[in-house]
């Protein structure tokens, strides 16, 4: 015992001089690889070079789910990073963990950032804002679904590529024409629950869950078996039976089909821009996500997907200052504008969007502003702020299963969504019990 104490003391005295002369280290765990990983590394490098007090160390921890798991496991072991990237689906889990996180707005203000929470785009920050209106995490990469069009495929099937596709009624007609014109894959989608239920509900201003989609409390219930949702899924189920909608998988498998030119229409995140623009060897175009004319208040606004940065509990003040300084740097409009233009993710402040417009980026890259317009066209409502549901990753899994039953023709849309509600509600009750 005595020996080990002396050993520890010796070790710490050996390390202290180095630690004192070195900068304060801030750990940042994220989920990006490939091009996005390089861009994040570049941001971190630029921040480290810009000042001498702090050094941010970025590490990749796997995909979104794996990164969240790594953060949770590290917290339980007392080894948590300062900043953790959590995808939007994990938001309710993080918000409920009061003793594990610190509100981002406090950290950023303490680091001297002149944080004006009103400067953030409402539909982006709404997802991460407490009921009191405080931003609990910093939105990092946010995207929203849009409609991607393969103009060459439309042409080949004898459909006018400029035809109006703003409503699902029009899309329905276009799909029929495409099919008749010999197109084997008229419509394909990525992230089916996110686009065709979560965003669908917000876009038509109908609730996805009670208690303002979970914003007002954990005693929330799913309402995805409403009339509007069921009507949409019934139509899609019919398209699937008729071979007008091709199901490729639960995530973004459909992207490969679209990028290779196999499919005519593709509902996918606006952040698909990077991949599509680099791979597609056909004339493509971005259109706003379609809506059903006459259903709800469509078009309201779509909601986001992506991730935000959470500051974790259990570090000392100097380190929090460094974390805050890094978050302030990330939210500055120059960094945001560059990120938006490089990746197709949304800018998180109106200022960054203005800067992008002023630089002439939207004119040079037509369609890249559609996502921004779609998100900001209207003030958000209780149904279109976003979702805040516990165990939501798992609930999405249930929704995926039930949607597969519709596409396979095993269940009607009503049966499937009733079942999704029943199974999802059981998980919501467990989440409520765990966080009482």
């Amino acid at each position: 015992m005595k020996n080990s104490l002396i050993g520890a003391l010796a070790l710490s005295t050996m390390l202290t001089p180095i630690a004192a002369s070195a900068q304060t280290e801030v750990q940042f765990w994220h989920a990006f690889t490939g091009r996005l990983g390089e861009l994040v590394a570049a941001q971190v490098e630029e921040f480290n070079a810009s000042q001498s007090d702090y050094v941010v160390v970025q590490s990749h921890k796997g995909n979104y789910s794996e990164t969240l798991n790594a953060g949770i496991a590290a917290f339980r072991a007392g080894e948590q990073p300062h900043i953790l990237m959590v995808f939007e689906v994990g938001t309710a889990t993080m918000m409920a963990a009061k003793g594990a996180v610190r509100p981002a707005h406090e950290i950023m203000a303490a680091a001297g950032g002149a944080l004006d929470q009103d400067s953030y785009i409402g539909a982006v920050k709404g997802y991460y804002t407490s009921t009191e209106g405080d931003m609990l995490s910093l939105p990092f990469n946010a995207s929203t679904p849009v409609l991607w069009v393969n103009r060459d495929a439309m042409q080949a099937a004898g459909v006018d590529p400029d035809t109006d596709l703003s409503t699902w009624q029009n899309v329905d007609a276009a799909l029929t024409a495409l099919k008749a014109g010999g197109e084997e894959c008229p419509l394909v989608t990525a992230w089916q629950s996110w686009i065709h239920l979560e965003n669908f509900s917000a876009y038509h201003d109908v609730p996805f869950a009670s208690k303002d989609n979970g914003f007002a409390g954990t005693d929330t219930e799913l309402m995805l078996n409403g009339e509007a949702q069921v009507a949409h899924l019934t139509a899609m189920g019919q398209w699937a039976q008729d071979g007008k909608f091709i199901y490729t998988g639960r995530r973004n498998e459909g992207g490969a089909n679209f990028r290779s030119g196999d499919c005519a229409l593709f509902t996918e995140s606006s952040a698909g821009y990077a991949g599509i623009s680099s791979e597609a060897e056909f004339d493509f175009e971005v259109r706003p996500l379609p809506y059903w004319e006459g259903v709800g208040n469509a078009p309201q606004n779509t909601i986001i997907g992506g991730a935000s940065l959470w500051v974790m509990e259990g570090h000392d003040d100097a380190e929090y200052k460094g974390a805050g300084a890094f978050l302030n740097y990330l939210s500055s409009s120059a960094v945001q504008a560059k990120w938006h233009q490089d990746t197709g993710y949304l800018p998180i402040t109106a200022e960054a969007s203005e800067a992008t417009k002023a630089a002439g980026f939207y004119e040079a890259n037509p369609g890249t502003d559609i996502a921004v317009i779609q998100m900001t066209a209207n003030d958000t409502t209780a149904n279109s702020n976003g979702l805040r549901l516990g165990s939501f990753d798992q609930i999405r899994g249930i929704i995926d299963e039930e949607l597969e039953a519709i596409w396979a023709g095993d269940k009607s849309a009503q049966e499937a969504m009733d079942s999704a509600k029943e199974r999802g509600d059981a998980l919501l009750r467990r989440f409520e019990a765990a966080n009482r």
């Binding site: 963990a97 639960r250 165990s391 798992q394 059981a426 467990r430 765990a434």
Partner: protein
């Protein structure tokens, strides 16, 4: 009469089994105990608070018909994996046993797939059967069969069974082959002189003599299909379409590490522990009686 040798004193035997007891205690009893303890709570993911629910997690699970359905899925899956990995292995071993020239090369080639990790095997098979670019699905398409394991549960099950059994054939082959080599030549030759043909000899002499190996492989393969096929399922189907390939161990993973529901996940581990324990007891009690050593 069985002869028993008795040693006096207790400390030497205790010392000799101590390492095994210690390893079992640290790596088996302690985690199993933790799982049982945690299954009585609904904790939050960060370990900040937890609600004691008694047997509530078990009640919740057993009341869930999707969880109960997963038992049937697991049973079908394990039976198919065990059959698909043992029968071809035995067949290949019998052929290899009769080879006179080149059996070394043949054996080495057959052992290769065992070196491929399950997750990698999953990706390989997925690539061959990919609905868009897969070689096999393309040929099937030419034959007029529309392969779509993304929506067709039966095809998805078939694919994960084949991918799980494939690497396992090598392992089983090794054991069967070694066992076949150990069958006394004199017995076979005697039967041959009596006029028994190959298949007759196989059914009446070789197979009964292989029974200890077969029994061992049966236990090991069932345990394999219960626990180690996780990587294959994760890479190929993630449990879908709908719930057609959600086996028990995959559900433990997805509830625990995707859903962060550690209470339910622990309760499922406990149930799984009992199921496998029970299966092994049944195998030893009833199947082993038919095994000739």
């Amino acid at each position: 009469m069985e002869k028993r040798v008795t040693f006096r004193g207790w400390w030497l035997p205790a010392l000799l089994i101590a390492p095994q007891v210690l390893i079992s205690a640290v790596f088996f009893f302690y985690p199993a105990g933790q799982a049982i303890w945690q299954s009585l709570f609904i904790p939050d993911p960060f370990g900040l608070s937890s609600q004691f629910v008694g047997l509530g997690n078990f009640e919740y699970l057993l009341g869930d018909r999707y969880y109960r359905a997963s038992f049937l899925t697991t049973a079908i899956f394990s039976i198919l994996v065990t059959l698909c990995s043992m029968i071809p292995a035995l067949f290949l071993a019998v052929i290899a046993d009769r080879l006179i020239k080149g059996s070394g090369v043949y054996r080495t080639m057959l052992i290769w797939p065992y070196a491929v990790a399950p997750a990698i095997a999953g990706v390989l098979w997925l690539f061959m059967f990919n609905t868009r670019v897969g070689v096999v699905s393309w040929y099937l398409g030419n034959l007029g069969y529309d392969w779509n394991h993304v929506l067709n549960g039966g095809e998805a099950m078939g694919l994960v069974v084949v991918a799980s059994a494939w690497g396992r054939i090598s392992y089983n082959f090794l054991f069967f082959f070694a066992a076949l080599q150990a069958v006394p030549r004199s017995v076979i030759e005697a039967a041959a002189i009596d006029g028994a043909r190959f298949w007759k000899r196989f059914w009446t002499i070789v197979l009964p003599l292989l029974s200890p190996t077969t029994f061992f492989l049966l236990v090991v393969n069932v345990v394999y299909s219960f626990f180690e096929t996780f990587g294959v399922i994760h890479t190929i189907t993630s449990g879908g379409p709908q719930q057609s390939t959600t086996i028990l161990v995959y559900k433990v993973f997805s509830d625990g590490f995707v859903g962060q529901d550690l209470g339910s996940s622990s309760a499922q581990s406990v149930i799984l522990l009992f199921v496998v324990g029970l299966l092994t007891i049944i195998q030893f009690k009833f199947v082993e009686k038919r095994v000739h050593y």
